[in-house]
C-alpha cells in the first residue's frame, strides 16, 4: 500500500495510500524499496492506480487537480524506475537499452544520494532536539558597562536593514506537505503582456533570453513565451532563429 498524504482541500477526503511523511517522489520510492523491502519491479502500479481511480469516482466529479497531478508525478517516477530496472543486466543490445541502463544507474545513484541527505537530516533533527534544551546566556549588559559602549555600528544600509524587517515580518509558512511542484503559481498575464509590449516598443528588437531574464519563475518564462506567440499571431512581432535551439530574436513589427 502506498499513500500520499496530500494537502487536503477543505471538506474533501484526500487520496489515501500509505507512506508516512511523504515529501516527494524520492521519498516515496525509498519508502517502498527500503521499508517494504520491495523490488521496484514488483510494485503493482496498476493496483495503486486502480485505487486512485476508485478514489476519484467516490468524489463524484469533485476531485482535485492538484491531487491528481501529484499522483501522476509519483506514478511517472515509479514507472521510470521500474522500466529501467526491467532491462536485464549484461547483454546490451541497442542504444535504447544503453539509455535505459544509464537511466537506471542515474536513478539509483540519485536515490542513494537522497537517502544519505535524508539520514543527515535525521541526525540534525536529533541534534536540534538535544540542543534545543540548552539556552545561551543573552543578557543585557550591566548598566555601568553599557555606558562604556562605543557608538553603535549598524554595519548595514537601509536596504539591508529593510531585508531584516522583511524576513521577520513575512508570515512563516505553516508546515504542510509541499505541493509546489504541482500547483503553479498564478501569473498576471495582463501585466506580463504590457511589460513585453513596452520593452519591445522601446527597444525594437530583443533576444528572448533578455526578455525572460527577470522572470521570477519558470512559469513566468513560459507565460512570456506564449504571449510572444500570441503577439506573433497578431502580427505584432517577428521571430528570427538562425539555428535550431539557438538564440531567438524578437522584433517589434507593429507600429
Amino acid at each position: 500500500m502506498i499513500a500520499a498524504e496530500t494537502a487536503q482541500p477543505a471538506g474533501r477526503p484526500p487520496f489515501e495510500v500509505h507512506l508516512e511523511n511523504f515529501t516527494g517522489p524520492f521519498d516515496l520510492l525509498l519508502g517502498l524499496i527500503a521499508k517494504h523491502k520491495l523490488d521496484v519491479t514488483e510494485v503493482a502500479l496498476s493496483r495503486v492506480s486502480d485505487e486512485f481511480l476508485a478514489h476519484i469516482r467516490r468524489l463524484d466529479g469533485a476531485w482535485d487537480l492538484g491531487q491528481a497531478s501529484e499522483f501522476l508525478l509519483l506514478a511517472a517516477t515509479l514507472l521510470d524506475l521500474k522500466a529501467a530496472r526491467l532491462v536485464p543486466r549484461g547483454e546490451v543490445e541497442d542504444e535504447e537499452d544503453v539509455a535505459l541502463l544509464e537511466a537506471r544507474d542515474l536513478l539509483f545513484a540519485r536515490l542513494l544520494q537522497y537517502r544519505a541527505y535524508k539520514e543527515a537530516g535525521a541526525w540534525m533533527a536529533g541534534r536540534l532536539a538535544v540542543e534545543g534544551r540548552r539556552y545561551p546566556r543573552a543578557v543585557a549588559l550591566e548598566e555601568h558597562y553599557a555606558r562604556l559602549l562605543p557608538e553603535v555600528v549598524l554595519g548595514i544600509g537601509p536596504a539591508a536593514f529593510a531585508a531584516f524587517a522583511e524576513r521577520a515580518l513575512t508570515p512563516r509558512p505553516t508546515p504542510a506537505v509541499n505541493v509546489d511542484h504541482v500547483h503553479s503559481p498564478r501569473v498576471d498575464i495582463a501585466a506580463e503582456q504590457a511589460l513585453l509590449i513596452r520593452r519591445l516598443q522601446t527597444d525594437g528588437v530583443a533576444s528572448f533570453t533578455a526578455l525572460a531574464a527577470d522572470a521570477v519563475s519558470v512559469v513566468v518564462v513560459v507565460a512570456r513565451f506564449l504571449l510572444l506567440l500570441d503577439l506573433y499571431r497578431e502580427g505584432s512581432v517577428a521571430f528570427e532563429q538562425p539555428t535550431p535551439l539557438g538564440e531567438l530574436t524578437v522584433r517589434w513589427t507593429a507600429r
Partner: protein, 187 residues
C-alpha cells in the same frame, strides 16, 4: 541523582541555570515557585552559592540587589570586561538585535510581546539591549493592553543614515500590512 532514569538536576544546578538566563533580578519567592522548593531552602542555597563563588574567586558573583538575585561580573575582573566592551566587537549589533530593531522600525509603536510574536523568539533581552544602546525608546503604553510600547529614536535614524522614518525602504509584497497585523493583536 545516581539513578539512571533520574537525571533530575540538583537545586543548585537548577538555580544556576535560571540565574544564567534572567537579566533582571529575580526574587527568592519567584525562584522557589519555579524550582518547586520551600523559600527558606532556596534562600539558603542562594546564599551558599553566593559564598561559594566568592570563596572560589570566580569571575562572576551572585548578589541580591533591588529585591532580587542576579549574576554579576566580579568587581576584580572589571578591567577585562571593560576592555572587552570597548574592544569594538560590541559596537556591532547581533543578528537578533538587528532583526528586532527592524521590526520596531517598521511597526512602531510596538510592544515587546508583539515583537516576540513576530520573531517567534523571546525578545526581551534584545529589546533591553536596544534601549541601552539608545536606538529604541519608550513610547507610552497601549491604551487597551497597558503594554509598554517602543519606538525608534532620532539616534537610530542617524546611525542608519536616513533623515526620517519615511526614508525607510518599502517592504516587499509578501509582508502583510501593519494594520492587518495589529488588528488581530492580542493587545
Amino acid at each position: 541523582m545516581s539513578e539512571p532514569d533520574a537525571v533530575r538536576p540538583s537545586l543548585r544546578a537548577a538555580m544556576e541555570a535560571v540565574l544564567l538566563v534572567v537579566d533582571e533580578p529575580v526574587g527568592e519567592v519567584t525562584l522557589a515557585q519555579v524550582l518547586e522548593r520551600p523559600t527558606e531552602e532556596v534562600l539558603a542555597t542562594l546564599r551558599a552559592l553566593s559564598a561559594e563563588y566568592e570563596a572560589d574567586q570566580r569571575g562572576f558573583a551572585l548578589r541580591c540587589v533591588g529585591g532580587g538575585w542576579r549574576l554579576f561580573t566580579a568587581a576584580a575582573c572589571a578591567a577585562y570586561v571593560e576592555r572587552f566592551v570597548l574592544d569594538g566587537q560590541q559596537a556591532r549589533l547581533t543578528q537578533a538585535a538587528l532583526e528586532t530593531l527592524a521590526v520596531v522600525a517598521y511597526r512602531q509603536p510596538v510592544s515587546r510581546g508583539r515583537v516576540t510574536a513576530v520573531r517567534g523568539v523571546n525578545s526581551d533581552a534584545v529589546m533591553r539591549t536596544l534601549l541601552t544602546r539608545g536606538l529604541v525608546e519608550d513610547a507610552g503604553t497601549d491604551a487597551g493592553s497597558q503594554a509598554v510600547l517602543y519606538r525608534t529614536t532620532p539616534y537610530f535614524l542617524e546611525r542608519l543614515g536616513i533623515a526620517d522614518l519615511d526614508a525607510l525602504p518599502p517592504l516587499g509584497p509578501l509582508v502583510p500590512d501593519a494594520d492587518e497585523l495589529t488588528d488581530e493583536s492580542p493587545g
